[in-house]
Subunit: 198 residues, 2 copies
């Protein structure tokens, strides 16, 4: 018979769940890998075999958050095949903006961690942004079918739309989101971009 | 007869010249008000009568730099009344982007100071941005006259154009400017905005 250990095997998912809880409780600055190991009741050596550094853990937590809380909910909006493309695109970008603003306001320390990862972990962010751009592209292609938008290089236009709205969703702009003019400013950008797509 | 002092009166201009030299030499982090006072051969009490804090000095140096090195050179481009509005607008925004990139690459410590001031000194930055937006507005109005651009609320469109190009000139995006795709990305945004203006 195989010898059974008392401990359940430590999965990546278990570690990330624990890391997220501990990061939330102590704040990303004060949390150490040892804190997370203690929470999981494993040695920090065991934890280091899964994540070689605190930076790697922070990145993995951010990556999961970006996927589960941003990319996945927006995917539903991007996949709809009914209604006006203009309305769908506006709803998509407003959802993105609202998720970012809520996170920045309600969990400022976790948001600061995500903003730092955005600068450090180029590859991770590139994958995330490419995912978002593909969603925009799919709405633009739908808009060409419904004759709301002009045809052309949809991939380029989608990237341009994403970059041109950065002020409202890129974490580096978070200090500006408290500006009382921000919604008016978004509307001015939206109108200009919409004219460009039509 | 009025009593003459040996010292020349300390002007704001003299202080800012000294502050800029000392900040450049030691770096904004390491420079203290005392260093600047020493450079000017005055007591730091004298200096504090003009600038109540290191933050006030940093802001004044940044304000002068934004005015002399960004707003003023761009004003010439904005005031021309000849040629194509499209070419003028592209030249204006490329000049802005190139000035920011050069500063970020050649004087990274001074650029970091300017980026920090951008976040802290809201009113100063608001005045600067309003100046830039008025320059864009003047080119857009010229473009309506030359029949290159559609008429409409030029002030709103100018602000939208400024915000939609933030990725390429807002100091918070400086880490992205080293991306080899950045010029291609600018071009995609430019094409979309131009379609929106026409």
């Amino acid at each position: 018979m195989t010898k059974m250990t008392a401990e359940a095997p430590l999965t990546r998912e278990m570690i990330l769940n624990a890391a997220e809880q501990v990061l939330r409780r102590y704040g990303p600055e004060k949390t150490s890998v040892v804190d997370i190991a203690k929470f999981l009741q494993v040695s920090h050596g065991t934890l280091y075999r899964h994540f070689p550094s605190k930076a790697a853990l922070r990145e993995a937590v951010t990556e999961r958050w970006l996927y589960n809380s941003i990319l996945l909910p927006l995917q539903a909006e991007a996949e709809k095949q009914e209604g006006s493309a203009e309305v769908r695109l506006r709803l998509w970008v407003e959802t993105l903006i609202s998720k970012k603003r809520t996170y920045a306001a309600e969990e400022p320390e976790m948001f600061a961690m995500y903003a730092a990862v955005t600068i450090e972990a180029e590859e991770l962010i590139k994958v995330h942004v490419n995912g978002l751009v593909r969603q925009i592209e799919s709405i633009l292609e739908y808009g060409v079918e419904t004759k709301e938008f002009q045809s052309g290089n949809a991939a380029n236009k989608a990237r341009a739309f994403f970059l041109a709205t950065s002020t409202f969703h890129h974490p580096a702009h978070a200090p500006e989101w408290k500006n009382p003019e921000i919604d008016k400013e978004f509307d001015a950008v939206w109108q200009l971009l919409l004219s460009g797509l039509r």
